[in-house]
Amino acid sequence: MDKTTKPPHGATLLLNLFAGESDFPQIEGDLREEFYQLASQSGPEPARKWYRREAWRNARALIRRPSVINALVGAAFCVAVFRLVTPLFFRWLRFELASAPRTPGLGFLLITLFEIATVLILGAVMSRVLKGRESLLRLTFTLFYLLTTAKFIIFSRIYAVWLSEPWHFAAIHSAMDQLGLLCVVASFWISSLKMERLTGVAGRER
């Protein structure tokens, strides 16, 4: 068998989402052992195909565990809090700025800063609560957030506004919206990764 034969990268990444599980080293080790046995018997390609299939089957089995469900619920909770708090702040800000002298871009800047601060807090707190399942939390938060954004774009018909504008305005507005979206997702990832590193260092020092 070729010593460089390795399990498929994508399947390994999928399994690594469950790296926080206490028995993950055994699961990964067992899959690798069977992978190398199969690769030496039938060749690398059938072994890689088998590994991909097993990665999906194991992901389906592991996603039913209460600890993994907690991470999914945690991500959904973060998105729900964010979606609830941001419009309230937006409404309050619009009321406050109504009497202030008009400054172009101020509202957008304040809303973006508020969104970033909210997700920084949510990402850090939830990563602390769901220690060991941070990568699953980050990925599901991104997925849920993008899904709710897509739902908003479709149901609020915001795309019709973009289409009705001259192309350069539409480009600016859509770029600003995408920048806001990127800021939210990136802030969540940064705070979650930071908390993961902090709790990891604290765990090693103990």
Binding site: Q26, I27, G29, R32, N58, A61
Partner: protein
């Protein structure tokens, strides 16, 4: 089934061998993650106990976790076997299957 497969394998019961035993004897192709979920539950109930083996290169440096059935686990199996035999007593399963 996990308990029975673990007993059949003796001291060599770990994820890969349990999976192979279930496939060979019960024709059940179970994901190794599901096996560990079940074994974890059995261990928390005190029906099995586990220990770590040595890490090997072919497992990517990961150690095997071996399992063995405890006295409590054997007792539960005996109890279940008696209950099963009691329920099966006097039943003509071939007839039931034919009716079904």
């Amino acid at each position: 089934m996990l308990l029975l497969a673990t007993i059949r394998l003796g001291e060599g019961a770990y994820g890969v061998t349990i999976r192979a035993e279930l496939l060979r004897t019960a024709r059940k192709d179970v994901a190794v993650g599901a096996i560990y979920t079940g074994l974890g539950r059995l261990e928390r109930s005190g029906l099995v106990e586990s220990w770590l083996g040595e890490p090997t290169a072919e497992r990517g440096g990961r150690a095997k976790r071996f399992y063995r059935v405890t006295a409590k686990g054997l007792e539960v199996l005996h109890h279940k076997r008696r209950a099963m035999e009691g329920l099966l007593e006097g039943l003509d399963l071939t007839g039931e299957v034919a009716h079904g």
